[in-house]
């Protein structure tokens, strides 16, 4: 029992659950911003599963395998870049929608009114 509840396995299971929760948000949530948040939760879950792999792979004086750790760091930065791009697209989309609704196409001027 204690073996199956080592930090590695425990947080791996937590990661597995987070993947499901994030995916649910991406598919069902009506708001697009929340879907981006869902993507981040899904990503966090995958990283945690990978962290569990790293933790199990400890050896040679290291508590955890450094290779998956480095890949997760790379992944976090890429996930942030993707989120930033998604958020920028979403902002632009909503600007265009507002412009359409008001019958004007001058999105930069719309900002002042908000």
């Amino acid at each position: 029992m204690t073996a199956s509840l080592s930090p590695g396995a425990l947080f791996g299971l937590c990661g597995a659950a987070l993947v499901g929760i994030g995916l649910y948000a991406i598919v069902t949530h009506p708001g697009l911003l929340r879907r981006i948040v869902g993507c981040n939760i899904l990503g966090a879950g995958i990283f945690l599963v990978f962290g569990a792999v790293a933790r199990r792979g400890g050896g040679a004086g290291f508590e955890a395998d450094p290779v998956p750790q480095a890949l997760v760091i790379t992944g976090i930065v890429v996930a942030f870049s993707a989120s930033a791009l998604a958020v920028a697209l979403l902002k632009r989309l909503s600007e265009l929608n507002v412009g359409e609704r008001n019958g004007t196409a001058a999105p930069t001027e719309q900002r002042g009114r908000l």
Binding site: L5, P7, F11, G12, L13, C14, A16, L18, G20, I21, G22, Y24, V27, T28, P30, G31, L32, L33, R34, G38, N40, I41, A44, L48, V49, G51, A52, A54, R55, R56, G57, G58, A60, G61, F62, E63, A64, D65, P66, V67, Q69, A70, L71, I73, T74, I76, V77, F80, S81, S83, A84, L85, V87, A88, L89, L90, R92, L93, S94, N97
Partner: protein, 310 residues
């Protein structure tokens, strides 16, 4: 005792994630996501990965959090919501997601034993790099190609963000300052940056031998720059400003140049000559830290909003 702490941490993480999904208010959900990112950092500490913990807290929690909060402020009241799904549809999706989670959980519990590991290989070559932190060695020596490509992905994302600027303000500066700057923000923006810059430089320098490194240091520096821009103490630069472009591309350019020189003076592309590995890695890290800081701050700042000053 530590098991209790772990269980509490997992319970909090799952509760916050569920809260983010079911919460109606956008703002409350994003703040819960910020807390989630910080707790996730603690989980990474429990997984014996302090480098990842620092990155997660700085970028996953802080960076993404500020990005989402700013977006929420802009989108408030005009977010175009799709038709909500029917109850039956949601139930079907929930069952599917639960199945995926269960499958992943099963995979976690049935990992191969003994676990496959590259730790001995990483430890063996550590001496040749002159580094003490195995994660930095993986990032900048053994798997340097990943890091190089990642830097280029960050720049591509930034190009994507910038390309969303309307025609009239192309090349101009993004708008970061809110309409009303609260007093405490101005105060923080005056007091915090000196400390933040020292912490950032320290994290970069110590990253060679201890937890820390370019991403974490770059994020701290980016946060300080954003703070100053948000308080309106210094306006954001035009996106076409040569100094900014140099800061953005300097890191990847130096990395690429040293990589190509490696194929002349060392064993091949991205190889470092023996004995020179550590100074070269530290030089690349220094340039990359500045590039990461500039890129992350500009990613949060968003596309140009003001006509360029000419």
């Amino acid at each position: 005792m530590t098991l209790l702490l772990d269980l509490a941490l997992v319970a909090w993480l799952l509760a916050l994630a569920v809260h983010v999904v079911v919460q109606r208010g956008e703002r409350s959900a994003i703040i819960a996501f910020l807390a989630f990112g910080l707790l996730l950092g603690l989980a990474w500490v429990r997984l014996a990965a302090p480098d990842v913990a620092l990155t997660e807290i700085a970028i996953g929690g802080g960076g993404t959090g500020i990005l989402l909060l700013r977006a929420e402020a802009v989108l408030r009241g005009r977010g175009k919501e799709e038709e909500p799904m029917t109850r039956a549809g949601k139930l079907a999706v929930a069952v599917g997601c639960a199945a995926i989670s269960a499958g992943l959980g099963l995979a976690v519990l049935s990992f191969a034993s003994p676990a496959p590991t590259l730790a001995p290989a990483a430890a063996e070559a550590l001496g040749a790099t002159g580094l003490g932190n195995p994660v930095t060695a993986v990032l900048l020596a053994y798997r340097a190609l990943d890091t190089l490509l990642e830097k280029i992905v960050v720049l591509l994302a930034l190009i994507g963000v910038w390309s969303l600027a309307p025609d009239g303000v192309w090349d101009g500066a993004p708008e970061v300052k809110p309409a009303i700057v609260p007093g405490p923000l101005t105060y923080l923006a005056r007091i915090l940056p000196p400390f933040g810059i020292v912490i950032g430089v320290y994290m970069f320098w110590v990253g060679a031998d201890a937890p820390g490194g370019t991403f974490q240091a770059g994020t701290v520096l980016a946060a300080m720059w954003l703070l100053v821009m948000m308080a309106g103490l210094k306006p954001p630069p035009d996106t076409s400003r040569p100094l900014l472009v140099l800061a953005l591309t300097g890191g990847p350019a130096l990395f690429l140049a040293i990589a190509f020189l490696g194929s002349i003076f060392a064993e091949g592309f991205l190889a470092y000559p023996e004995g020179l590995a550590k100074p070269l890695i530290v030089a690349i890290e220094a340039a990359l830290t500045l590039s990461v800081a500039a890129a992350l701050a500009m990613l949060v700042a968003g596309p140009a909003r003001k006509a360029p000053a000419r």
